[in-house]
Symmetry: D2
Subunit: 172 residues, 4 copies
């Protein structure tokens, strides 16, 4: 059995539609319902929710909290998937990279352009890819999404295209 | 073959999620994609889009337009389903009732609390019920939703409960 | 609240795919998982499983059992939906009709051409229509499927077309 | 853009339910409909159907045909995903391994325990993982399924568990 940690922070991937307000927002964690759709017989998957926020509202304190959780898990030498809003995913990834030295496992950030369970959602695809990626990628910090994996210092979001793209160097 | 008209006006049932804004709104008609999921071998279904609006933004002019379309279709003696936002569905239904005399077919208003294609949506259920209801209900104007049918002058939306409920008399 | 009984007997609507045999069969009841997808706030729905069989394997004893359950429920004057394999649905319906006199509620038989939860399934549509139909149809025995309702003595299955069609008189 | 070839051979992943026979079988290719659910903006995906068979019915001639197609594609140095029935997936993989020398790209075989589009299907998960795997695995022949990747000479199907498991050496 391979132990993998999944840290959830919110973001579009976990947003829900409110019938009362007619808006989508990070209200309750829902990733467990979708993870149940995946077959991972050889995986010991541990889900840890550290917050449930739109990533545009993430503060330095939130990133300190995320880093603390990552550090705690790294003591087990287990790879980590972090679900995160796409708008500041690169920023959080670079924050982690600056703080962490000599990684022995991969850390993958992922998320979605459309919430899990909404028509056309890319959420389950990105989760599937990320859970696979942390079993095969070398140590380092990556964004995995839409069939691609990017080292965290060579990636940025293209909002118009609803995807991530390669860059020459760090973008946050 | 039974001829049925489906008039679409927008409302939550047809809202889509925008990856750019992160909001749900009435942008493009999407009901056709969902009607294709239903088997209606004995039905000649004609879909007519008259507008695509949140029902809170519907004006008197919009209701005049809707009434004009209904009048035109009634000349064919075909029953009509109208998809509509739930917030002013009763208001539009009562407006039609005041304008139309001696109906020979049922007119059913329906909609959804959560957009078609979003997890937990009631949209396809309500469409299914409404398309069945116009084949069996007596002439009159109704709201059909969540397994229930209400004469238009005995119904109101309960926003807290996300459903419609019976009333003693007209509520708009 | 409207009390409705749903009697399940098996049939294609409840068939499941076996990964071991690669075949579909009536093994475990699964209708509850799909009923949860419907919003029926004003319905007190009671599900009763009497058997779980391919309707081609139904015996006279099975129909006696079904009739007994129907008789018991009719004492409550509650309408009844019966899910049933399509191949002998007409036969069971006519059997019930011959045995039951002076019905005061509608009894609706329904089923599916493709099992619930398989791509392109008509199962949830037919369930939705049937649960609505028993609230509006006059007393009698019907098949409700694909947007249509047929009195039990004017209907037969057309296997080539995967649907039911009108007939002049009883067909079993 | 990354060029990837997807060779389809049939198997459970592509089986469809027949309303006429009540059985599931390899009749028409359906993988395109499911690939459309994936976002692969950086992938130039080429789908090639070489046959559509239950893998228990695959003959030596069929494997010769598959090998020929693989050889042709390898001239482009593009990685290959092969969808295949699970029962003889290992056999076909070992057949390819014996015939091919000095691979410069990964070849991934995958499939499903339950057909694409049936409730609980693992098909889309396995496709997603395989399309990701061929972008990151070193040259070689693998089975990728349920979050795992197996070198072809260390894997066998466990039919009782509906999964693949590691072995000491080749099993076919």
């Amino acid at each position: 059995m391979k132990t993998i940690y999944l840290i959830t922070t919110g973001g579009t991937i976990e947003k829900v539609y409110s019938e009362y307000t007619g808006a989508v927002a990070n209200v309750t964690s829902k990733i467990d319902r979708y993870l149940k759709l995946l077959r991972l017989p050889d995986t010991d998957l541990n889900v840890v929710q550290v917050m449930n926020k739109d990533s545009l509202e993430m503060t330095t304190d939130d990133r300190v909290l995320l880093l603390g959780m990552v550090r705690a898990i790294l003591k087990e030498n287990a790879p980590i998937v972090i679900t995160h809003g796409t708008d500041t995913m690169v920023e959080s990834g670079l924050y982690l990279e600056r703080a962490l030295r000599d990684l022995k496992v991969p850390i993958v950030l992922t998320g979605a352009m459309t919430p899990l369970g909404f028509e056309g959602s890319d959420g389950l695809q990105n989760l599937t890819e990320s859970l696979f990626a942390v079993r095969v990628l070398p140590p380092g910090i990556y964004i995995v999404i839409h069939g691609q994996h990017f080292p965290i210092d060579h990636v940025q979001k293209n909002k118009q295209l609803s995807r991530f793209v390669w860059t020459e160097g760090p973008t946050a």
